[in-house]
Amino acid sequence: MVDAASPVLFEGDEAWDGVGAAPAGDAALYLELDGWEGPLDLLLELARRQKVDLRTISILDLVGQYLDYIERAEALKLEVAADYLVMAAWLAYLKSMLLLPRDPEVQPSPEELALKLQLRLQRLGAMREAGARLMGRDRTGRDVFLRGAPEGLRVDRKALWKCDVFSLIQAYGAIKLRSQPVVHMVRERAVVTLDAALARVSQMLGIAIEWTDLRAFLPAEADPQLRKSAMASSFLAALELAKQGRAELAQEQAFGPLLLRAASGVGKAA
């Protein structure tokens, strides 16, 4: 382990250097309470002052020093942060357990707790030393330098265009399709025009005195399409004739057959 006072090891950390370099054990040290990074940090520093390997450190001594330290800080009326006090309470408990005759009922044993604390201090100590050695390496920009004005490597990306003849003619076909004027053709279909229906219905109505189903006026057609058309135009023709007063219409119920007869006046007149 490295001596805590080594300035090289912890260069650049004013607070810590200050503590490490402070005259042993005195007011200066206590005034630095803010400088510690928590109770573990303070414990590690106190351990280092024992100047022995952390593996052989006396936890009991360390606990004593820590408690002493906190007590004196309080005596100086320094604000002692809560986590330091919690640690102090725990260490006081540990110390009493270590000093009292061993009670096999208590788990974990105080020796185990002490060992854990020691392991933690070793780990923090190891990492603190590793950090210092890392910082002490030949660092880029401080100890070694890169080329001041590199020309730089440039890779110009050039597109290598790809297309094939099929895509080309396919594209041409697509353009032709798009630009072709759209023509809508309506297929010619057989229909019964309104005029034809009107002529047919009025002619047949002349001989129908009784109520007659509209369907009877339709031409006998096999083609259902044409029959529909005839039905539609015949219905319109019937309405037209009714409007002209030449026919009467009746329907007994909704969707029932539409009945038709010549208007009575007309019939008499004819």
């Binding site: 330098f145 001041g148 004005a149 490597l153 110009d156 050039k158 003849v165 594209a171 041409y172 032709k176």
Partner: protein
């Protein structure tokens, strides 16, 4: 080249390497505590003469640079295969079937605007070239295909391009009516006049 450079040589070397600007012999000397660096610079020059890096003097100031014969390493071209966009493919097809055509004519046929970049891409690919100007108001630039175009598409001449009939037979013109072929004129799509409506739109 010396087996072991002396300390001054190493120092000058490192100083010039790390420098952000070329340095005069005086500046280097000042930097190194007043040592005379003239002979060292000449030495270093020789040391590096055959390497990939040279030490050169320009206007009394020294710097390292890449050996001139390796300058091509600094800017390297990398080719990346890229598929032609749909718009570019269509523009190319129109130029191939109707050349020479102006941009306005291409747009008239495509029925949409053609970005400037689209034709640039085709030029960059080496498939089209500027074939002069159309002698109409505005004198628009006209484009035609290049021999590289034929090579790339495996055509011996533009007459190899399938005509309208063949396109239809291939199902590429499916719903198109008979009358259409007469509109665009000709069976094989060779240099027939095209839709005149686009011709007068100046670029």
């Amino acid at each position: 080249m010396k087996a072991r450079p002396d300390d001054l040589e190493r120092a000058v070397e490192a100083t010039l390497f790390a420098a952000e600007q070329p340095m005069s012999a005086g500046e280097i000397s000042l930097h190194l505590g007043g040592a005379d660096v003239g002979a060292t610079l000449a030495n270093l020059c020789l040391t590096y003469a055959e390497r990939g890096i040279h030490l050169v003097e320009r206007g009394g100031r020294w710097h390292f640079q890449t050996a001139p014969d390796l300058a091509h390493l600094l800017r390297r071209e990398k080719e990346e295969p890229k598929r032609l966009s749909r718009a570019a493919t269509e523009a190319l097809a129109i130029i191939a079937y109707h050349e020479p055509v102006s941009r306005a004519e291409i747009e008239a046929i495509r029925g949409v605007q053609t970005a400037k970049g689209t034709l640039d891409v085709l030029m960059e690919a080496g498939w089209i070239r500027i074939a002069g100007r159309r002698e109409v108001p505005g004198r628009p630039t006209i484009y035609a295909t290049t021999p590289e175009f034929l090579t790339h598409f495996g055509l011996s001449s533009r007459r190899d391009l399938p005509g309208i009939e063949e396109l239809r037979a291939a199902g590429l013109l499916d719903p198109v009516e008979e009358a259409f072929a007469t509109l665009t004129g000709g069976e094989d799509g060779d240099t027939e006049a095209i839709d005149p409506s686009g011709e007068d739109n100046s670029d």
